[in-house]
């Protein structure tokens, strides 16, 4: 699945998007954040406060307990400041 990062999440990780293949045990958005955090220091830094991170699956806002199976694109970003 494709993972996209925005704003300071992207800046901390250092890339805007990537393809990932999380193992079967990674079922929810929260699980995915935990799994991504272990990829390296930049990821751990981006996700150091997971409760601040928002997520969207296939262009729709989702909660941390949302299931990721079947998702084509998951995005992680800080609280929004649009409008």
């Amino acid at each position: 699945m494709k993972v996209k990062y925005f704003a300071w999440v992207r800046e901390r990780i250092g890339i805007a998007e990537e393809m990932v293949e999380p193992p079967a045990g990674v079922r929810t958005v929260d699980d995915l954040i935990g799994w991504l955090s272990k990829r390296g220091e930049t990821y751990a830094y981006a996700f150091e406060k997971p409760k601040v991170i928002r997520a969207a699956i296939d262009h729709t806002h989702v909660k941390p307990d949302a299931m990721i199976s079947g998702a084509r694109e998951i995005a992680f970003f800080p609280p929004m400041t649009g409008g």
């Binding site: 925005f6 704003a7 409760k51 699956i57 806002h61 989702v62 909660k63 995005a75 929004m80």
Partner: protein
């Protein structure tokens, strides 16, 4: 009365008079047009800023705005609805966002415009980065505390 909303995300500035004309010309059933335009202020938290840069999530931003525009159109009897959100580098005094709501009578237009702006502020995937003498920093969302779980919305 079901008109599709006009939704645009663009770097260029918008012309408010022209956008209003697009909702009113050629028809005589519009009795009210409410306009909200958001403008880049010259300071943030009492610190002067040189510019804001708006980043967005292409694809989701349009989808999210459309979702809320559709909800506004179903909740209020509108003859038209326009949302234009700028992205890129914007300097103080410049336009950032436009919401126009048109209806036969004013109540629907006022309420729809406010509803849409409140939704845009909460749910639209845009992020503002400010430039000041201190450097660049991301503006923090207001009214959000660290317990973000409660604020995520399920589709």
């Amino acid at each position: 009365m079901t008109t599709a909303a006009t939704i645009r995300i663009q770097e260029a500035d918008f012309d408010i008079a022209r956008e209003i004309a697009a909702l009113t010309s050629g028809r005589n059933d519009v009795g009210a047009v409410v306009t909200f335009s958001g403008i880049c202020r010259g300071s943030e938290n009492d610190e002067p800023i040189a510019a804001l840069t708006l980043e967005h999530y292409p694809g989701m931003a349009e989808a999210e705005i459309k979702r809320h525009a559709d909800e506004a159109m179903s909740r209020w009897p509108l003859t038209g609805l326009t949302v234009v959100h700028r992205v890129g580098r914007i300097t103080p005094g410049e336009n950032i966002v436009l919401v126009l709501a048109a209806s036969q009578h004013r109540q629907a237009a006022f309420q729809a415009a406010e509803f849409l702006m409140d939704y845009l502020k909460a749910n639209a995937p845009f992020w503002k980065r400010e430039e000041s003498q201190k450097g660049t920093s991301w503006i923090e969302a207001r009214g959000h505390d660290d317990d973000a779980a409660a604020r995520w919305t399920k589709s």
